[in-house]
Subunit: 322 residues, 2 copies
C-alpha cells in the first residue's frame, strides 16, 4: 500500500474514533485510548494483538454506571425487603431488616457485613433462577434512584458506552467483571451495555439443579472483588486481559493483573469521580468506591486516570437531550 | 417476498446445509438437525428464536472427540506422572502413582476416586495458570493415542465439527460443557473447535491470585458433571440453552434441562457409539461414557440418537484423506 493511502487510512480511523468517542473532550485520556487501540490493532505495528487475545475487562459499579450515594444493588435489596415484608412481620423490629424497611443505609451499615449478608440472602435466594430474573427485570424497569429520580439504567456513563462500542468496533471482546451479583446484572446489562450474559462475571450465590430448574441457595459462592477479580477472570474468560477499566481500589488487582500481561502492550484506566455537579466527587475517603492506593499506583505507573469533570462532555445519556 | 423466491431461498439454505454437513449420511439425525435449525432461524416461523437466545451446549469427551479406551485427560495425567517421577522416587512403590507409571489403568481404577484425585492434584496443581497452559499445549502437540497412534486432536469427530460450523453459520453461540478440566481444554480446544475460551465450561481446581499471577491449588472447586452441568451452564452462560449435544448419562441432566426450556423449541442429540470398526461400540455397560438411562429416555422423548456407524460417512478427519 502506498504511504499516502496508509496515511489516509490512519486519518480515517482517527476520524471514526473521534466520532465514536463523541462525549470525550480532547485530552490525555482520549488520546491514550485512541493511541493504544490504534497501535495494537495495526497489523504492521510491533504492538499488534491478534483479535482472539483482545480481551477488555470492565468493572460495573462506578465504572459503567453510578454507585452513589450507595451501590444500586443495595436499593434493589431494600426494595425487595419492603416487598417481602408482609410475609415477615418480625422484620419490623429485627435488625438489619428494620433499617432496610426504613431505607436507613446508616442503620444497615451498623449491622456490618453480617447484616448485609442477611439482607442479600433474604432477597436474592430461595427462588428459581427464572423467578429471580423476572424480579430483577421488573425492578430495573420501574424503580427510581432516590435523589436523581430517574431509572437506574439511565445512570450509565455515556462516555463509557461509547468506549465499549469503540473497543468492540476494533474487535475487542468486552467483559464485565464486577463485585455486584452476576444474576442481578445479567437480566438487564446485556441490553444496556451490549455485552452477552456469558461475558458478565460477578459475585455468585450457590445454586443447585432441582426438578429441571436452577434454584438459588442462601449461601455465597464467590465474592468477585479485589484479589478475586483476577480469579473470576481466570474461571470465566480463561485468558489474560490486555485492557482493564475500573474506578476503585476494589478493581486494583484486576488492573495490576492486566498490567502483568507481558505478552502484549496493555491499557489500564481509572474513572476518577471528580464531578460534584453532574455526579458526585469522591475518592480516597469514600465508603463507596474508595480510590486511594489505586490512585497513587496509577499516577506512578502511567495508568490513564479520567478526570470526569474535565474530560467528559456529558456524564449520563439524558444530558445529551438538553 | 414472492412465494417462488421464498421457495428458492429455502432450497438454497437446504443446499448449504447439505454442503456444511457433508459427512452426515441422509437420514433421521441429519433431517432432525436441519429441520430444527431451519425452523428456529426463520423469522416467519412460530418457532423462531432470536439470535441472542440461540445457545447450544456440547459435551466434549465422547461427543466432540473420542474417549476410548479411557478419557484422554487420564493419558495426560499418566504422562505427567512419568515426567514428574524423577522428583518423586517414592512414587515407584506407592499407589496410585505406581499404576500410573506403569500405564496400568486397571490398577488406577482399583484405587477409586480417591486415587484418581491424588493423581490429578499431583499433576494439575501447584503451577501457575500460564505454566499449566504450556504443559498442556506441549502435550497435546506431541503425545499420541496408545492404540490409534495419532495425536489426540486428530480424534475429534468430523461430523461434529461440521455441526458446530453449521450452527454457528446460523448464529448459534456454541459452548462446551464438559466434565473434563476447564484448564486442560482451553489451551487447545479454542483452535480445534473454533470455540473461544470463555465459551468453554468444565471442572475446576481452586486458584488464587498471588504475586500478579494465577496459581493453581490442589483442591477441586467444581465437578462439572451430571447435575452440575446445568449449574455450570447457569454460572458461565447465564441463559437457558435451546440445543444440547452429549453421549452419556453424564450429559443427561444438561439435556433434560435444555428440554425443560419451555420458551423455545429445543433439540437434544445423543451421539451413540455404535461403530466397532472405525471407533468403539459401547453404551449401557461401558465404564467410560456409559449411556443407559439416557438412551431409554431419549427413545421415549423423541430425542435425536445418532447411529455413528450408519449415519456418519467418516468419523475422524483423517479418514477423509484416504
Amino acid at each position: 500500500m502506498s504511504r499516502i493511502l496508509l496515511s489516509l487510512l490512519l486519518l480515517l480511523s482517527l476520524a471514526q474514533a473521534e466520532d465514536t468517542l463523541a462525549s470525550w473532550n480532547d485530552g490525555k485520556s482520549k488520546n491514550n485510548i485512541i493511541s493504544y487501540v490504534t497501535s495494537v490493532t495495526d497489523p504492521k505495528s510491533a504492538d499488534f494483538i491478534p483479535v482472539v487475545d483482545r480481551i477488555a475487562v470492565f468493572d460495573n459499579d462506578g465504572t459503567l454506571w453510578s454507585e452513589q450515594p450507595m451501590y444500586f444493588f443495595i436499593y434493589f435489596t431494600m426494595d425487595r425487603i419492603t416487598a417481602l415484608a408482609p410475609q415477615h412481620p418480625e422484620w419490623k423490629t429485627t435488625e438489619p431488616f428494620k433499617s432496610a424497611l426504613n431505607k436507613d443505609i446508616e442503620g444497615i451499615s451498623k449491622t456490618g457485613m453480617e447484616g448485609l449478608s442477611k439482607l442479600i440472602m433474604a432477597t436474592h435466594a430461595d427462588t428459581t433462577a427464572k423467578e429471580f430474573d423476572k424480579i430483577v427485570l421488573e425492578w430495573i424497569k420501574t424503580a427510581k434512584h432516590p435523589t436523581k429520580n430517574v431509572h437506574y439504567t439511565q445512570l450509565v456513563f455515556q462516555p463509557m458506552l461509547e468506549l465499549l462500542t469503540y473497543l468492540r468496533a476494533n474487535d475487542f471482546k468486552t467483559f464485565i467483571v464486577s463485585g455486584g451479583g452476576i444474576d442481578f446484572m445479567r437480566p438487564w446489562a446485556s441490553e444496556v451495555y451490549g455485552i452477552p450474559s456469558s461475558q458478565i462475571v460477578g459475585s455468585k450465590l450457590e445454586v443447585k439443579y432441582d426438578n429441571k430448574q436452577i434454584v438459588r441457595l442462601p449461601k455465597l459462592r464467590f465474592n468477585d472483588d479485589k484479589d478475586n477479580k483476577p480469579v473470576g477472570i481466570h474461571y470465566h474468560i480463561g485468558k489474560h486481559p490486555v485492557a482493564a477499566f475500573g474506578n476503585s481500589d476494589g478493581d486494583f488487582a484486576m488492573m495490576e493483573y492486566t498490567e502483568a500481561n507481558k505478552k502484549y502492550k496493555t491499557l489500564q484506566l481509572y474513572v476518577h469521580h471528580t464531578d460534584d455537579k453532574r455526579e458526585v466527587a469522591y475518592d480516597r475517603k469514600s465508603h463507596v468506591g474508595k480510590l486511594d492506593k489505586g490512585l497513587d499506583y496509577a499516577n506512578e505507573h502511567n495508568w490513564t486516570v479520567v478526570d470526569m469533570k474535565k474530560e467528559w462532555k456529558v456524564v449520563f445519556p439524558f444530558e445529551m437531550k438538553r
